[in-house]
Symmetry: C2
Subunit: 178 residues, 2 copies
């Protein structure tokens, strides 16, 4: 910690969580695969664009999650942005009682070019190669080069705001599925 | 750049931008002040929570912006999350023709405890002290300790999605202001 920050008192973690409830964000599934074997994934909202050229993004992942060590070891991961109709997928990947492979039981998942599982129905999927990993408190910040992008626009995004899943009203939304 | 990323071709920047249009995000104004003098701020969506304890967030800021050098020199900044009614503030701080002080001409702005300008009407304002700055391509990633938080919940957030400003339908929204 730098001297300026250490010299000032920190805010209360409970207040921080209360403030962060006001930050709305798209919901993603971040996935990784270890070699030809074990797959893991988690539901996340801490995903941002860093730079378009070269294409770079970052994600913040809890170091105690099952997915974190696979991301670190593989050096590859995939960020799958969810549409409004994927709230069940978001719930499944956020379920602490489910492990590894069982999370992938629903939805069409297949390996991207970088090996990490890609959700075919994602509104956008970013295949990533880690450039740097910084550990900050409970979390790791992965800054990554984007090696491949799949985009399927035109649908409402799944969002997280004020502790709940929600979505945007779309002017021209894709037809609802029966 | 690490060997694994360099060994793989990168995605096309235009595809990256197209993919990132699918990432919905809250709109913030990030501000900084140099000593007792010059103020600057910019409209941003690249803000994420890193860790609740100790309270830590990160922001990605274009290094060619007027705000970037002030953030770097001050070592302090403020992240102001906007409500739906602040689309004019978002437009003003995104206007490349406006400079420094003129952006603060509308809205109730005053210095936070850390000196950076705080928008009184923000849904949440995070006063920050920079812990680290990493430069990646066109942007800088500021990881920062949060020293003070102001929260005023109950309003719809201002969002950016698919190249436009939008908001969420709120179940119980605060009364509109006359």
């Amino acid at each position: 910690m730098s001297a300026p920050a250490a010299a000032q008192a920190l805010a209360d973690p409970a207040d921080f969580k209360r403030g962060m409830r006001q930050l709305a964000a798209s919901v993603s599934i971040i996935t990784a695969q270890q070699g030809a074997g074990r797959r893991a994934g988690l539901t996340a909202t801490a995903v941002t664009s860093v730079c378009a050229d070269p294409p770079t993004l970052l994600v913040c992942v809890n170091r105690s999650s099952q997915t974190f060590p696979l991301m670190r070891e593989a050096g590859r991961f995939c960020v799958n942005l969810l549409a409004a109709e994927h709230s069940d997928v978001a719930a499944r990947f956020a379920d602490a009682a489910l492990h590894g492979e069982s999370k992938f039981a629903h939805g069409a998942w297949h390996a991207g070019e970088n090996g990490a599982p890609r959700l075919h129905a994602a509104t956008a999927a970013f295949e990533c190669a880690t450039l740097s990993l910084s550990e900050v408190g409970t979390h790791g910040i992965f800054v990554a080069a984007v090696t491949r992008i799949h985009v399927a626009p035109g649908r409402a995004p799944l969002l997280h705001f004020d502790g709940a899943l929600t979505t945007l009203p779309m002017v021209s939304q894709a037809p609802a599925r029966a």
